[in-house]
């Protein structure tokens, strides 16, 4: 089978990946690189558990063929968040506010939060809800997740916005 080679910066570390181009980014992350923080909840773009960032965009790793992620792309998964001040702040916010229950949605959810907050101060009043509308959580009823993101937004480290 044809394979493509990609050099990606994943969570700040360079990785060279060889993969069939149609293989899902999710499988490359979870199976080839054993970055199992990113989860599969539905495999069809409906739950958001597989949310990761490719460059500055939020993407669903279950829908994205690895071949479409260009050479040189920067990929951020839940495992990479603790390497950034904003990511650590969000982790603290989620833990402090009780935003994680079973935790399976959290890797995707918190990447969505991170992508939202690093874009700068929240503009629209419903910015948080809209930014996480694609992340389904069946446990929390979302209230504590919203509280966590608000808490982090208030304390977002200015020096790291927008490009940490």
């Amino acid at each position: 089978m044809n394979k493509v080679t990609r050099n990606w910066m994943i969570n700040g570390t360079p990785h060279r990946v060889e993969t069939p181009p149609l293989r899902r980014l999710l499988d490359v992350l979870r199976e080839d690189l054993r970055l199992t923080g990113t989860k599969e909840g539905c495999g069809e773009g409906e739950c958001g558990a597989c949310t990761v960032m490719v460059d500055d965009e939020v993407v669903l790793a279950c829908l994205l063929p690895a071949g479409q992620v260009p050479d040189g792309a920067e990929i951020t998964t839940v495992e990479g968040l603790e390497k950034t001040p904003g990511g650590r702040l969000l982790q603290e916010a989620y833990a402090e506010k009780g935003a994680a229950q079973c935790g399976i949605c959290i890797p995707g959810m918190i990447v969505s939060s991170y992508a939202l907050l690093r874009r700068g101060p929240l503009q629209a009043p419903d910015a948080i809800r809209t930014a996480h509308a694609g992340n389904i959580c069946r446990c929390t009823g979302y209230k504590k997740i919203i509280a966590a993101v608000e808490w982090a937004a208030e304390r977002w480290p200015e020096t790291v916005t927008p490009t940490e």
Partner: protein, 773 residues
């Protein structure tokens, strides 16, 4: 009101951060699919394409190289081909009559999932098709016209006073029918399991589950191995809600049978489509009430028929039925009660445990009925409820006495007051043509039995252990050893809180290792809102025992025999001012004696009397209480229903951790919102039509209403620290509160769940008749 005297607690009652929070926010928690098991093969189930039939045989195509895979058929099962739940009617692998679409016919394992699926595609079942009975509607029609046709899986009745005969002396009699559809748990982690044959002959099962001690012993009979050779361990669980109570046994069985034959680890991770199609749902239900009222608006007699669609096999349906009928006329004083409950078979996947366990279906109908009854006697629904809400000293429909810890009617009164109910209720739209948006408000009031029904706790005798042992860093730690599992609800934090409280040490010195049947005693399954109350109490008792033992040993080792008290994380000598930190004292005990384990076991208070045959007596040791007020806007043009606010009070006894308890209520209410307004499954060609997340739609962050939730604590005096249950009660009341609100908004009474714009349209939505009765 017997509010237990407020004790000051150090650890209990604090919003302590979850012990698993750090792992979960860092993506480090290990769920079944994250476990790396080298050389594991993938299992796939060969399933019946028809809902009802007779299996004549399975043809394996000669075009496939069968040496690359392992196939398991009933002949390969070492023990009995039976899944032993409450009935012994379900085979692991069907061999004769097929009862539902998707029933397993064989199992296949291969080095890759792809190859296993290819193998499955080369197996063709030969089936003589039979006529299926598929839906609740068909079931109810048969029940009304030709009941002997139905296959009964379970039945139970409740009688109080004169029963239905008393309807004859009522001033007003009202009859109504209600239905509720399937609901899918939709935990975000699909089910997954791994079976690993170990070198020493043990079989190790690890995966996503609520109840490790269901799998062992249930599987032992099938695999024909002794319990001490079957080790079951829980991996991190990504949500369960009842959906991982009984069915992980099946997954474990498939993996185990394949692993034993393949002589290597086998894993099965369902994808979302398989998970929706081939795991349990909430039972669809039908209720018919005939209720007799006195002229003054008091309840005189309740007759209720309560039917559950059990799906193909008995599984846990009898207990779901019991909890259903026990809540079907709860909450209010009524001298005469007759409830008849039945579970009948349909040719669909067996329905099973789901948060609330029959109570949400029963209360959906009963609390809708309460509003219709209030209308019938011309009373506002809140006045009608306040008039007869149960109080301390009253008896339940089974004649159980409400002795203690009764949050009724306080939670009802408080919720009504806080939401401004009476005033808002009088200003509802009732489908007025001139209104641009229709406003409505509705309420529901309910109790939820905490713990197992009847004498269940007396039979289970929950056992817990506390281990003082060295942690991975060598420092002493008190580990809570129970089979109660963490699945998001907070067990891994509240039980250590209780242990720390009993010992008077800091929570940092406690731990909660993942339950493993080789390491923990059986504290019972993690179900029935029983963990905080029953297991919590037992952990507290064990903590007190361990405290005493530690004090004695530390006295001998470090205080030259003078009496010692462990208090606020320090050992204090009785006669001098000397203190020793807990960790130092514990380290001394560990060094001298090695690890220390104490056990304790739950005992039901002696006054609890229950007759399982007649269903008379104390159905539950205690009840949690709740009241929901829902406010809605309905768009007169599109009939779109939007719930914008929920006000609720709950008495869940002592609140062990307010952040976690609120999390349960908020999450449960949003799940209940989905049940009430959005989540719908119909059956097409014997299959669920909504079989993916695209078609089975649950609430997102955009759907959440404002939630104003409060606790009223009426601690349960017979347990420490006095918790009742919180897990299930948030599912109980929102659907009827919403139906009642929608009736006030539109003038239309909906009696079938879910409550949708289409249903409003069917009832003449645009014409909006002010239909009340």
């Amino acid at each position: 009101m017997a509010v237990k005297e407020v004790t000051t607690y150090r650890v209990v009652g604090k919003g302590i951060r979850r012990l698993d929070a750090a792992d979960k926010v860092r993506g480090q928690a290990q769920y079944a699919d994250d476990l790396h098991v080298p050389d594991a093969w993938h299992g796939v189930v060969v399933r019946s394409p028809v809902a009802h039939g007779r299996l004549r045989g399975l043809q394996r195509s000669p075009d496939f190289d069968w040496t690359q895979v392992v196939v398991v058929t009933p002949e390969d099962i070492p023990g009995h081909n039976i899944v032993d739940m409450m009935g012994r009617d379900m085979p692991f692998i069907a061999y004769d009559e097929i009862q539902y679409c998707g029933e397993p016919l064989a199992l296949v394992a291969a080095p890759t999932r792809q190859l296993a699926r290819t193998a499955v595609a080369h197996i063709t079942p030969d089936i003589e098709t039979l006529t299926p009975l598929l839906t609740l509607d068909e079931m109810v029609t048969q029940y009304k016209t030709n009941p002997p046709v139905l296959h009964e899986l379970s039945a139970k009745q409740i009688r109080k006073g004169q029963g239905a005969a008393a309807l004859a002396d009522a001033d007003i009699v009202l009859e109504r029918e209600y239905t509720a559809g399937h609901q899918e748990q939709l935990y975000i982690e699909p089910q997954g399991m791994i079976a690993i044959p170990e070198k020493d002959g043990t079989l190790f099962i690890i995966g996503s589950m609520q109840c490790p001690y269901y799998i062992n012993p249930e599987l032992c009979e099938t695999l024909d191995i002794p319990p001490e050779r079957l080790r079951v361990k829980q991996a991190a669980v990504g949500g369960a809600f009842g959906g991982k109570e009984e069915f992980p046994t099946l997954l474990a069985g498939y993996c185990a049978l394949l692993a034993l034959k393949a002589k290597r680890p086998v894993k099965i991770i369902y994808d979302r489509n398989q998970d929706i199609l081939y795991t349990t749902k909430r039972h669809p239900a039908w209720s018919r009430y005939k209720v007799g009222l006195n002229k003054d608006g008091t309840l005189h007699a309740v007759q209720c028929e309560f039917l559950l669609d059990g799906g193909a096999y008995t599984t846990l349906s009898p207990v779901v039925l019991y909890r259903g009928i026990l809540h079907a006329a709860m909450g209010y004083r009524c001298p005469h009660v007759a409830i008849d409950g039945h579970v009948y078979r349909t040719n669909t996947f067996p329905n099973g445990a789901f948060r609330g366990f029959g109570a949400p279906q029963a209360l959906w109908a009963w609390e809708s009925m309460m509003d219709e009854l209030a209308d019938a006697v011309g009373l506002p629904p809140h006045t009608f409820r306040l008039k007869q809400a149960l109080q301390q000293g009253d008896t339940t429909p089974t004649g159980g006495l409400l002795r203690d810890s009764v949050g009724s009617p306080a939670v009802l009164e408080q919720t009504l007051a806080r939401s401004g109910f009476a005033d808002k209720w009088s200003r509802c739209s009732l489908g007025r043509a001139e209104d641009k948006a229709w406003y409505g408000i509705g309420c529901s009031f309910f109790a939820h039995g905490a713990g197992f029904t009847g004498d269940g706790e007396a039979r289970i005798k929950a056992k817990v252990a506390l281990d003082l042992e060295p942690a991975t860093d060598g420092q002493p730690i008190v580990n809570v050893r129970v089979s109660s599992t963490e699945m998001g609800q907070g067990t891994c934090t509240i039980l250590p809180q209780v242990a720390a409280e009993a010992l008077s040490i800091d929570i940092a010195h406690t731990g909660f290792p993942m339950p493993d049947t080789f390491k923990v005693p059986d504290s019972g399954p993690t179900v029935a809102s029983r963990t905080a109350m029953v297991v919590g109490h037992t952990v507290f008792q064990a903590g007190r025992k361990l405290k005493q033992q530690l004090e004695e040993r530390v006295a001998a080792l470090l205080f030259e025999g003078q009496p010692v008290e462990l208090r606020e994380n320090e050992f204090h000598g009785k006669y001098d001012a000397q203190t020793v930190p807990f960790m130092k004292g514990a380290a001394a005990v560990l060094a001298a004696d090695g690890p220390l384990r104490v056990y304790d076991q739950f005992k039901l208070p002696a006054y609890i009397k229950w007759n399982q045959d007649t269903f008379e007596g104390d159905a539950y040791p205690a009840y949690s209480w709740g009241c929901n007020v829902a406010e809605v806007w309905v768009d007169p043009l599109t009939l779109e229903i939007k719930c914008h606010k929920i006000t609720a009070y709950y008495d869940i006894g002592r609140v062990l951790n307010p952040v976690l308890a609120l999390g349960q209520l908020e999450g449960g209410l949003i799940q209940a919102l989905g049940y009430a307004l959005m989540e719908k499954i119909t059956i097409k060609d014997g299959k669920y039509d909504a079989d993916r997340m695209q078609t089975y739609v649950v609430p997102t962050m955009l759907d959440g209403p404002e939630m104003d939730i409060h606790f009223l604590e009426y601690p349960y005096a017979d347990v420490e620290p006095g918790a009742k249950g919180v897990g299930e009660i948030p599912m109980d009341g929102l659907a009827p509160a919403l139906a009642n609100a929608i009736a006030r908004a539109t003038g239309i009474r909906l009696r079938d769940l879910p409550l949708t714009p289409e249903a409003l349209l069917k009832h003449g939505g645009f014409a909006a008749p002010a239909q009340t009765a």
